[in-house]
């Protein structure tokens, strides 16, 4: 009896392990195929799709870089850095106000800020275009920056607030005894204590901004202003059937965020857990 169940257990475990490994292959193989196709020539690509590239030349990567990917990359980096910094600071300020200050109608304020979490960006799309055209901000760097900040404040405030609520109020009282004002207490005591959640917020915002498509597509049309997700579709449509160059471009866009994920996994997972779990 004991041997029968343990035999069954071994069979079941082997089956589960094979399934999990097979799934890992299904995830990794397409990504590997993408990277390798960036090294192939067009005729190799249309030959056996499973074949390895004959030689590892960086030609396609260089071509992709020179055909706009460098400029898309620079724009993506600039938008990502500025929007992330602005979002996290404005959100941390708001979170501090919401957890540490007595504000009239504070429940309404909280509901208004966090309520933004429920709203789909697509719903505001048409009026936003009209508004940005009227403001003269359509097809400018500012359009993307403002929209990314506005639509990311609710989630980021939600994350940071949940963390700040758990910090004991005695810390503030000690700071008050020291004679530090609210602003000083925020900058030199509370903010450093929130470091883990700030790092998580930064990473999640980088990931969002780097990959965002809808606003980037609608609000930019000039080549210098386009981010990688839009630039890649341009690369695809402009260069006909020179697909290896497109694969190279895709790889250039994907590698930074994959690296970011692996290097910062701990913070990343924590941010996700706090963001959805609380």
């Amino acid at each position: 009896m004991v041997t029968r169940t343990s035999l069954l257990g071994v069979v079941a475990r082997t089956f589960v392990a094979s399934f999990l490994l097979a799934l890992a292959v299904v995830v990794i193989y397409p990504l590997l195929w993408m990277v390798l196709n960036g090294f192939k020539t067009n005729s190799e690509l249309f030959g056996n799709p499973f074949a390895l590239p004959l030689q590892l030349t960086w030609d396609n990567y260089v071509k992709a870089w020179n055909r706009g990917v460098s400029s898309y990359l620079v724009t993506s980096v600039l938008v990502t850095v500025t929007a992330t910094i602005a979002t996290v600071f404005i959100s941390a300020w708001a979170a501090y106000g919401l957890t540490r200050m007595q504000i009239p109608f504070s429940r309404t304020v909280l509901a208004l800020i966090l309520g933004g979490l429920m709203l789909a960006p697509a719903v505001a799309l048409i009026p936003l275009v009209k508004m940005f055209q009227a403001l003269g901000l359509y097809n400018t760097f500012w359009a993307l920056l403002i929209l990314y900040v506005a639509f990311r404040i609710p989630f980021t405030t939600f994350l940071i607030r949940a963390y700040m609520v758990d910090l004991p109020l005695e810390i503030d009282e000690a700071a008050a005894v020291d004679g530090a004002g609210k602003a000083r207490a925020f900058w030199s005591i509370i903010l450093p204590m929130c470091k883990p959640i700030l790092v998580s917020s930064v990473i999640l915002n980088i990931l969002f901004t780097w990959n965002e498509y809808l606003f980037a597509m609608v609000f930019t049309s000039g080549g210098d202003l386009q981010t990688l997700p839009i630039g890649l579709t341009n690369l695809m449509s402009k260069h006909g059937t020179e697909y290896p160059v497109v694969f190279a471009g895709m790889t250039i866009a994907a590698v930074p965020v994959i690296l970011l994920f692996f290097l910062t996994q701990r913070y990343f997972v924590r941010g996700l857990a706090d963001g959805v779990g609380k």
Binding site: L31, A120, M236
Partner: protein, 294 residues
């Protein structure tokens, strides 16, 4: 003194409120107004047309097709990214080696880190009849009869897009479920094992009930996301062939920016607003019931 303090508190929340008010809430209200208007693109003016845009919507077969596609998206995603992911997370967390658990969680997540544009383009090529690996793999195992132009046919296009989305998103929810499972006290599993409860019943009697909160949350997130799908559809099919893979946001985009029919696009946006708000209010009602604090 007290009053002074109270007004000073506003300074902290003012930037967030201002940005949200102008760029999120104002356009949201304007959208409702736009949806009862019609733009004359030649003369440049707009006029009130009442419910005309909504009536047009009710009679537009592509709108209904899009709504159906979004619903199919929601249904498949619920099966794969909520229930499938919960089961998968339980299988991963049941492994003995901590190293393997971590490695698998991370590997499964990678597609969620890359953009939907990259994932969409990648699968565009995978589905491509000539150079794609899907047809090549089918031929390789002797299933030649199944090879087809996955994105080029009305019957398969939206399903091919939905399948790509599952590949891209299942690791995200699996990771979150894994975190929820890790929070379950080990004693509960140990007690169940001592009572002679097997792994399947342990999953049903311990894992499922104790991750219920996360499951509820993931259902909401998945549903809300399913009605906002846009990126992958635009990259892979642009809604074609013959509008068969159109979804609400891509149809909104086509009407608004392809045909400059802003009023009609705003009416589609209102439908998306109602659907996503409905889902969100459902979530609020559920969490309110469970917890009093907010």
């Amino acid at each position: 003194m007290r009053r002074h303090r109270r007004t000073r508190g506003w300074a902290w929340v003012a930037p967030a409120l201002l940005v949200l008010g102008v760029f999120v809430y104002l356009p949201l209200l304007q959208n409702l107004q736009y949806s009862v208007m019609k733009w004359d693109i030649y003369a440049g003016g707009s006029s009130f047309v009442g419910m005309a845009n909504y009536e047009k919507l009710a009679g537009d077969p592509v709108f209904w097709r899009a709504l159906l596609n979004n619903s199919a998206y929601a249904g498949v995603s619920l099966v794969c990214q909520v229930f499938g992911a919960l089961l998968l997370a339980a299988l991963v967390e049941g492994l003995r080696s901590e190293r393997w658990r971590r490695a698998l969680r991370a590997i499964y997540f990678v597609p969620s880190a890359i953009s939907l544009t990259v994932a969409g383009l990648l699968f565009y090529f995978i589905y491509e009849p000539e150079l794609g690996i899907l047809n090549a793999a089918l031929r390789g195992v002797g299933l030649d009869s199944l090879t087809q132009a996955w994105l080029g046919q009305e019957g398969t296009a939206i399903w091919a897009v939905i399948a790509m989305s599952q590949w891209q998103g299942f690791g995200y929810s699996t990771l979150l479920f894994a975190i929820a499972i890790q929070r379950i006290p080990q004693d509960l599993y140990d007690a169940a094992s001592l009572d002679g409860v097997g792994p399947v019943r342990r999953f049903l009697q311990v894992t499922v009930p104790l991750t219920r909160e996360m499951t509820g949350l993931m259902i909401i997130v998945t549903l809300s996301g399913a009605f906002q799908v846009f990126n992958e559809v635009m990259v892979m099919t642009s809604g074609g062939p013959n509008n068969s893979s159109q979804v609400l946001v891509s149809w909104l985009y086509r009407m608004g920016f392809g045909r400059n029919d802003f009023g009609y696009a705003a009416a589609i946006a209102t439908v998306i607003f109602v659907l996503t708000l409905g889902v969100a209010l459902l979530q609020l009602a559920i969490t309110r019931k469970r917890r009093v604090e907010w």
